[in-house]
Symmetry: C2
Subunit: 219 residues, 2 copies
């Protein structure tokens, strides 16, 4: 397998030749179809996942089945929570699913575990990455707790547009509701409101942003 | 100043004699009265705070002035977020206040900064502590998002009772509302409901748990 490990793992240069070999021998590429569950905390953890293409969604789930998306991990990013079983400081449960067809590089838990024990740079990298995610989650939580629902929907559409560099967002109202931690009915109501204001147009299975400046006024 | 630094800072044994001297010379004890703001992210950060006695509350604040308590830090615990300016991975704003008269040991930012740069064990300790707090915050968030309000009030009273080892909780309804991120009116309604069920008794400025087993049924 040809991988530019030095670009994928920032701690690469701090590893011995032997440690680097452990990674290049142990890493594997896996593909997940849209909607597949890639990780759940109550099962054995696979290891550190890096998204090569596609996107994963990290979320929490209530006993009643309500989902709240914490953050998404996009191409080139790592998802440190998929290795949470190796980090004593993490004791909450998350689920990770592929939101589209997603290819990931997996550094297996067994390999990562021996690297962590032997090299402080690896352990520090993991805990720094976890703290990064702490910041992401705090941003999400502030949106959920403090923003009005029309603002949240508008912010979501705005961010989607920026990430995908598209004016068409191919998501159902149900999917948007899951991303922002709301109910489908509520999202539909807000989308109709944004459409009536002339910011977006609702089409079958997708949403078109027709007036960016107008959408911006709802942020 | 006589302090048992080896018990306060788990990385103490991994410091050189020179680094240990930096700490024992640089640390200071400060006392905050009840309700005093000890830290806010938009001001210069003081350093790593360890609670010697009393209690601090870490919370976020909306533009409209709504507060949500993230977690509390009790005697013997450190509050890593008071040193957030030294950690690039933390980019959210929190406020920290004393919930009662509180004495803290402060390891000033300047000293901490040079220790972090010179000793990986110190940096790792800070990021591990931040990840611990990530877990605490996730617990709080799941309470707020997924629990019914009567459950949240009952859980709060239960935890207070356990921490203070008292059956009387000397807090106003307003204060409880701030801790659990709700409104005073809502807390008052739930407390009356718990009182009518025979779990608690409401007295002037305090709440008495009169039937622990009954209160437990609301958790």
């Amino acid at each position: 397998m040809k991988m530019e490990f030095n670009k994928i793992y920032p701690f690469w240069e701090k590893l011995s030749a032997e440690e680097q070999r452990l990674i290049s021998d142990g890493c594997m590429v896996e593909t997940f179809e849209k909607g597949m569950l890639m990780h759940r905390s109550d099962e054995e953890c696979r290891g550190l996942m890096t998204v090569l293409s596609g996107e994963m969604r990290t979320y929490i789930l209530s006993e009643e089945g309500r989902e709240v998306t914490l953050f998404r991990v996009r191409s080139g990013e790592i998802c440190v929570l998929s290795a949470s079983c190796l980090m004593d400081s993490i004791d909450f449960d998350v689920l990770i699913e592929a939101t589209e067809k997603t290819e990931v590089l997996i550094l297996p838990s067994t390999v990562l575990n021996s690297l962590m024990k032997g090299n402080a740079a690896v352990e520090l990298y993991l805990y720094k990455s976890a703290t990064d995610k702490f910041s992401d989650v705090m941003w999400t939580i502030q949106q959920i707790l403090f923003q009005k629902i029309d603002q949240r929907v508008a912010t979501f559409l705005w961010d989607e547009m920026a990430h995908k560099e598209l004016k068409e967002i191919a998501l159902t109202h149900e999917e948007i509701a899951r991303y922002i931690g709301s109910a489908r009915e509520v999202v539909t109501r807000v989308l109709k409101y944004l459409a009536s204001a002339g910011a977006i147009e609702l089409k079958r299975g997708k949403i078109c942003v027709i007036d960016k400046e107008k959408l911006k006024t709802f942020l």
